[in-house]
Structure formats: structure tokens, C-alpha cells
């Protein structure tokens, strides 16, 4: 086909109501522009300021040994330094090393990544959770909770204020979520939504099994384990003044992991038995980032940040003292997930803009993929948009 002729034809195509559309759009754009809060000068110029600061610090380092300390300090404060990740990383996500699908959220919305690496955007959602067999996704944005198919078809939606931290029960019949500072539970078909009570801003955790038993951080302090259908508290686990930041059940429902952030750059992991007795507790140096129980057994993958480095550990929940550093790297790690077969760990390395697939039984095998931020934010600026791993679920 003659390309010039095609271009002429495309240019001659007038979309409907071109002028009207332009006027309407301008009104919206103008209003949005008027309502935006201009970024203060120092923030708008953060990158040049950071670059200048690092330059000055580098000079100082060259001149004197104490200057090296300045460099570290500046890097720590700036925190957005792009680090070099695993070499020879694949430039795009061509496939997953194990069966299953990965649920991801980014500023562009929620995405499902299939085993062959294909990505499907589900819509403009901020957080998401798999249903137990991966047939549905529970997704939330601002004031809405929705159940979607993995193709993005909305089955139902529910309007509630400030919805976040949704978790689908292992039975498939309930979704627990936070609405503002309240814990609520709704049936898997979107009916029977009800308030459970005030809760802290920590994602609730369903105990594996057919019964609907939920662990959540009660606003009054203790971690509460509740049979939600009868609204009956089974037990509570007090943990002193430190507030929990994450709750995770082991796959056999016999262990509840409670991560608590402590002052002084430390965190504590507590392991509670099925009857509410505290079995283990250990304080770790560093800042807690994420934790995930393996799909079988009592191993826990833990991500922490210590100084300028981050670490992925695998910890035996039954002792907490058997720890294996699986991977250590400069900058920030974001989150971790186990493959459904338990053989791989997926680690987000935000500072390097990489995902690392780590063979959990053989740490020498690492598959890296880089350029995640642009892949999940087409059209974005590529900064500060690293995708969050919401879960690696069952083969579809």
C-alpha cells in the first residue's frame, strides 16, 4: 500500500465531534491544573540537588577519609540511588521459572503475569489479592473493592470508604479488608458485607482451612484471632508496646508469624502456635520489609534492610535461630513471594529495578529480570514506580 496515500487517509479521518471533545477536555484539564498542588521548589529540584550533594560528598571523600562517611550518609538520606543489580539480567519478563501466575500492582494498576511472561492489566487498582485457586482477584482502589476475573472482567464491586489490604479466605467464600480503620468481611459473591471492628493498618491474615478464622491487629493492641462467622474471639496475643506490621499463617495453619517493628532500627519476629501460645520470639537488627511463609513447612522468607544493604533470609520458624542469608544487595528490596511449588523465591530489588527469581533449594541459581518499572508503567516516568508483588498463585 502506498504509504503517502495511507497517511493522507488517516489525516482526513475526523474523529467524532473533534472541537467539542477538545473543549470538554480543556475544561477538565484546566480545572485539574488549577487544583493541583505545585510541588515546592526543593522537591521539584530534588534530583539536581541530590546530584549536587552527591558530587560534593564525592569530592569530600576524595580529599579525606571522613568524607567517605559523608557519602554513605548522603546515599542513605537520598535513598533513590539506582544500584547495579545482577549482571546479565533479562531485559524483559519472558517467562516465569515455575508454574503459576504473579499478581502485581503498580501506579498504572493491577496486573497478572502469566507463566509465559505475558502481562494483562486488570484495571486501575491500587492493591490486589488472589482467590485461593486463582480463579478471581480481589482488587481495591480508594473507595472500592471489586472481584475480577484474571482477564479483568468485574464480577462485582462494593463502594466503601478508603478500602485497602483485602485478603481472600482460603475457602474462597470470604474476603476480609480494611475500610479506613475498620476491619470488614464480605462474602466471596459480594453479599453480606459487615463490620468486624476497629483495626490497625495491618493486612489481616486468614488461617488456612475451611473455617473462617482471621488474625488481625486489633486497634486496642493485641493480635486477635477471630472466627468471623460467629464473631467469636478464639484467642489474642499481646506483644507489648510494639505494634505489628505483618501477620502470616503457615500453610498447615499451625504457626502464626507476627512481625513487629521496634525502635532503634530493629524488629521482632514472633511465632505463635495454633492455640495462641507464643512459641518463639527473636529480635533482629535492621528494618523489617516483608515476610512470607513457604507453601509447605515452617520456613519463612524475610526481607530486611540493614544500613545501605538489604537482605533476603530464610528462617526456620520453629527455632528462628536457624537463618540462611539467601541474597544480599545494595539499596532497597521491596517484597518477596514463594512460587506455588515452593522451589523459587521472587524478590523485588527496587533500587536495581530488578526482579530476582532465586532457586530456593539451590541459591547458586538466580534469574534476574530488569526494567520492571517501565514494563508495568507504560508511559510513566520510570522513577518511583517499582511494581509491588501481591502474590504468586496457582497455575491457571
Amino acid at each position: 500500500m502506498n504509504e503517502r496515500r495511507l497517511r493522507r487517509m488517516l489525516l482526513a479521518t475526523a474523529p467524532p465531534d473533534e472541537i467539542g471533545a477538545q473543549r470538554r477536555a480543556w475544561r477538565v484539564v484546566r480545572t485539574a491544573f488549577g487544583e493541583r498542588e505545585p510541588t515546592p521548589w526543593p522537591i521539584r529540584h530534588r534530583r539536581p540537588i541530590a546530584a549536587a550533594a552527591i558530587g560534593v560528598a564525592a569530592l569530600a571523600a576524595a580529599l579525606s577519609p571522613p568524607g567517605r562517611a559523608v557519602i554513605d550518609e548522603v546515599r542513605d538520606v537520598v535513598g533513590t540511588e539506582k544500584v547495579v543489580g545482577v549482571p546479565q539480567a533479562r531485559p524483559a519478563l519472558f517467562s516465569l521459572p515455575a508454574p503459576g501466575r504473579v499478581l502485581v500492582t503498580a501506579p498504572s494498576g493491577a496486573w497478572v503475569v502469566s507463566a509465559n511472561g505475558s502481562r494483562r492489566r486488570l484495571g486501575d487498582y491500587a492493591q490486589a489479592t488472589w482467590s485461593p485457586r486463582g480463579l478471581f482477584v480481589g482488587a481495591s482502589k480508594r473507595h472500592q473493592l471489586a472481584a475480577l476475573t484474571p482477564k479483568g472482567e468485574v464480577r462485582w464491586s462494593l463502594a466503601r470508604p478508603r478500602v485497602h489490604a483485602g485478603r481472600w479466605s482460603p475457602s474462597g467464600f470470604r474476603i476480609a479488608y480494611l475500610s479506613g480503620s475498620n476491619l470488614r468481611v464480605v462474602a466471596g459473591d459480594g453479599t453480606g458485607d459487615r463490620r468486624i471492628g476497629p483495626a490497625q493498618n495491618v493486612a489481616p491474615a486468614w488461617r488456612p482451612g475451611a473455617e473462617h478464622v482471621l488474625a488481625y491487629a486489633n486497634r486496642s493492641g493485641p493480635v486477635t484471632v477471630l472466627a468471623t462467622d460467629e464473631n467469636r474471639t478464639l484467642w489474642t496475643a499481646a506483644g507489648g508496646a510494639a505494634e505489628p506490621v505483618q501477620l502470616e499463617w503457615s500453610a498447615d495453619a499451625n504457626r502464626l508469624l507476627v512481625a513487629r517493628r521496634l525502635p532503634g532500627g530493629q524488629f521482632a519476629l514472633e511465632v505463635v502456635g495454633a492455640d495462641g501460645r507464643r512459641l518463639q520470639s527473636l529480635v533482629f537488627p535492621g528494618r523489617f520489609v516483608d515476610a512470607a511463609f513457604a507453601p509447605a513447612g515452617h520456613r519463612v522468607a524475610v526481607v530486611r534492610r540493614v544500613g545501605l544493604f538489604s537482605e533476603l533470609l530464610v528462617v526456620a520458624a520453629d527455632t528462628l535461630r536457624r537463618q540462611q542469608v539467601v541474597f544480599r544487595g545494595r539499596g532497597r528490596f521491596s517484597d518477596v513471594a514463594w512460587s506455588p511449588n515452593g522451589r523459587w523465591l521472587l524478590l523485588g530489588w527496587e533500587s536495581a529495578d530488578q526482579w530476582l527469581f532465586i532457586r530456593s533449594t539451590d541459591v547458586s541459581k538466580i534469574e534476574a529480570v530488569e526494567g520492571l518499572a517501565p514494563q508495568f508503567n507504560p508511559g510513566g516516568t520510570g522513577t518511583g514506580e517499582f511494581p509491588r508483588i501481591e502474590g504468586w498463585c496457582c497455575p491457571g
Binding site: 489525516l11 475526523a14 474523529p15 467524532p16 472541537i19 471533545a21 477536555a25 484539564v29 485539574a32 522537591i43
Partner: protein, 206 residues
């Protein structure tokens, strides 16, 4: 002559910038960069008139590109509008060394592809009554010349590369960057899309 954005009287499609055909390739951007830099700087500093200049410059092609990918006027309007809003939200972080057009088109075309894919999926699960309504609501023939009808038979991905190449005049390398695709994929989509388009247009003419 440019459309008056403040009133509802007067102009027809084809007036002013709506009818212009400046391409977005690096070559063609050269003359625009000086003005555009000033507009972006001004808009970042809060100048409404500079924002309006940017909008006037880029809206017509953004809307037209979205329309040619999704073949639905209201959806194209939403996509182009949302893309501008996204651009405004990120304006303070925008790197002024980069041209604005490709950045905007990347957002527009990717959103348009997503929308077209989602619509195809919805159709799969059966929207017969809605399809009948949509049939009645289709744009009139004056807005659907043969090229649009032929284009609508292609997949969203093929439509997108054809629109980027032949309406906005990006090079295959630039399209590969915009869509995060290997250059070979862009070339093969272009070749296949053009072949299919030619077949369909010839079929129309028989």
C-alpha cells in the same frame, strides 16, 4: 486559526491545529522544541496560558490517535483526556530534555491498546444486547471512511503501530521505544498490518 476553547460556537473539524499534520519524529520535533520547552517550563511554574499552548499543540493528534486505535469517539475522548491529566500530575517530574509529544503518545497509545483489548474480552463473554445498542450508537458514515473500517478489523497492536508510524510519523525505532517492544516486532507488525489493510481496502474497492 485555532479553535476557541472557551465557547461553543463556530468551527468545524479541520480548522487550525486540528487540521495540521506536523509529525512527531525527532526530525520534525526540531522546530517545535524551542516553543515547547518554554511552554513546559511555564506550565511547571503554574502558567495556565503555557499549559493551554501545550494542550492546543498536542490534543488533536492525541485524540485522533486514540480514536484510530479504539474506534469509539467517547472512549477516545476519555483516553486522551485521562492521558493529559496523567501528564499534568507528572508535570513537575517531567524531564524537560525530553520532548513532550512522545511522552504523551506513549501514555495515549498504551491506554488505547489496553482499552481495545478489554473491549474485545468483554465481547467474548457475550454482550449481545449491548452490542445491539452500540450498533445504533456507531458514528455516522461521515466519520468512518474505508480506511477506518479497514483499520478496525486489525488487532489493537497492529492498529497502534500503523497509527504511530503513518499518522504521527515516528520511526520504527522510536515506536519500539514508545511501546517497549523489540524493533523487529514493530517492523513485522507494520508489515503485516499494512498488508492486511491493503487487502481490506482493495476488497472494499472491488
Amino acid at each position: 486559526m485555532v479553535p476557541d476553547l472557551s465557547d461553543d460556537t463556530g468551527r468545524t473539524p479541520g480548522d487550525g491545529p486540528l487540521g495540521r499534520s506536523r509529525a512527531y519524529s525527532k526530525r520534525a520535533m526540531a522546530g517545535l522544541r524551542g516553543d515547547e520547552l518554554a511552554w513546559i517550563r511555564g506550565a511547571q511554574a503554574g502558567s495556565l496560558s503555557d499549559l493551554e499552548a501545550l494542550f492546543r499543540e498536542h490534543w488533536p493528534r492525541a485524540y485522533r490517535a486514540a480514536y484510530l486505535v479504539v474506534h469509539d469517539g467517547p472512549a477516545a475522548e476519555d483516553i486522551a483526556q485521562e492521558s493529559f491529566l496523567a501528564a499534568i500530575r507528572a508535570l513537575d517530574r517531567f524531564d524537560r530534555r525530553r520532548p513532550f509529544g512522545p511522552w504523551l503518545h506513549r501514555i495515549v497509545v498504551n491506554r488505547a491498546i489496553d482499552w481495545a483489548r478489554a473491549r474485545a474480552l468483554r465481547a467474548e463473554v457475550g454482550d449481545a444486547p449491548l452490542a445491539a445498542v452500540a450498533e445504533d450508537d456507531r458514528p455516522s458514515d461521515s466519520f468512518s471512511p474505508p480506511v477506518v473500517a479497514a483499520l478496525s478489523e486489525l488487532s489493537p497492536e497492529h492498529r497502534a503501530v500503523i497509527v504511530l508510524r503513518h499518522l504521527l510519523e515516528y520511526t520504527p525505532g522510536e515506536i519500539a521505544t514508545l511501546l517497549d517492544l523489540p524493533r523487529g516486532t514493530v517492523n513485522s507488525r507494520l508489515r503485516r498490518g499494512l498488508d492486511e489493510l491493503a487487502d481490506r481496502l482493495e476488497g472494499e474497492g472491488r
